[in-house]
Symmetry: C2
Subunit: 248 residues, 2 copies
Amino acid sequence: MSHDHRLHRPELTGALARGDAAFDALVSEPPRRVPAGATLIPQGSRHDYVYKLLSGWVARVRQLPDGRTQYLMVFLPGDIFAVKSMFVVQQPDAVVALSDVVVSRIDQQRLKAAFDADPALATRCTWQITEEERRLHNWVVSLGQGSAEERIAYVLIEFSRRLAHRDAGGEGVQQYGMPLTQDQLGSVLGLTPVHVNRVLRRLREDEIVSVRNRTVSIHDLPALERLAHPLQDAPMPGEAGALTEGVA
Amino acid sequence: MSHDHRLHRPELTGALARGDAAFDALVSEPPRRVPAGATLIPQGSRHDYVYKLLSGWVARVRQLPDGRTQYLMVFLPGDIFAVKSMFVVQQPDAVVALSDVVVSRIDQQRLKAAFDADPALATRCTWQITEEERRLHNWVVSLGQGSAEERIAYVLIEFSRRLAHRDAGGEGVQQYGMPLTQDQLGSVLGLTPVHVNRVLRRLREDEIVSVRNRTVSIHDLPALERLAHPLQDAPMPGEAGALTEGVA
DNA sequence: CGTTTGGTTGATGTATGTCAATATTAGTGG
DNA sequence: CCACTAATATTGACATACATCAACCAAACG
């Protein structure tokens, strides 16, 4: 968990790190291993745990009564998810493992007690939701205004940034593993899998990105960013910059 | 601020009410009156206040560099907004008044201090973000999967419910004022204003809802709910499972 | 090896966008 | 209260991005 100092309040850095540690300290059970495709939280069920994702990819999914499916959020290692458990009885969405995954979890009641007792932990949890909200805002913009091409470019860049963030704090990574199938990508993007396929083909033919074998290879990052550009948040000063490091 | 006991944890009711009162107690300046169309928070600016909306409608808006516009959230009286100010330096989106509005506000630093000192207030703030997140999830589903008709039906019902919630706690209200222009509705829904117009005409001709004069009149609520149904969150009652099992 | 799952491609349909003109309503100042 | 203007709403003709349907192919996999 790290954050961009142009965006986030730098005075929180310490509290966030302490909150993160406090979270880990509360974990009592050993981490759980969950295979790809498994459901961590079934949709509509009562649920009493909050999770931290240690490795692998996980997604929040909503299935409509008539079968349509929308992915609402993709979580990457370091993310805390289902913080909502502290506030709601039922999770209105399922959470599923996109790849083999390792998570640790805490009972919501224990966590809520600690939340009340430790402001740093409260800050860390609230920060996580705030961060999710930011991503959701971008998501809404993407779905509401973006063309298929823009949405795809955007999501591929977002993944790259978020992954790089953790590993290196660098600009983004040009190649990364991405367990989503084209079908799932469609459900993330609100597009048909065949349309996803066609757009990916075009991007590949134009030598911008290729997505093959669960691997994304960005060949022409500037071009990709140009495509995604209108959807970036905070069109701030110079250019869409890297997310920078934080946290010791 | 009230909540659904089928969804929210009942044990929080007290803390939420206390947190709400704590928020009000922190307000030092008299409420501010803001005229329709005014910008409360400009996009991309540094901002240091958290607000509570006392009356009127307010929205969070994102303007893309090429002019496209997406509304990200509509706030109704009772909502606390810009809680994010406690965590981020810059607001990536503008917040504008959709109607004449009255708000009270608190400096983020004072609020953050109180947040750290008073778990009930922290709970209230975090609850608000959680609630926003829930709405955003529904929003993403709506944009990603809904047809124009479904989205419109859904948004009209959501407004009705949220308004009724506050006033009566009842089911929803059949008639209410709604300051959004068709153009703005389009920016909320990710649709063209002319398409919004056409769909509204159809709904009016079918005697389901009419939107005229900044007033929404629901003539056939069951029909409207039937249209919006697939997009509702939390297929609450027992079943709804359906999503692939597979845990090991 | 056959079966499955995911990917690729074509032909065709449709919901929604675009462009553009006209009507209506809402302000505004005289 | 009227005349003028600017917003907003309405409608039509036409364009297109994306969906749908339906094959076929290529890895992955037991």
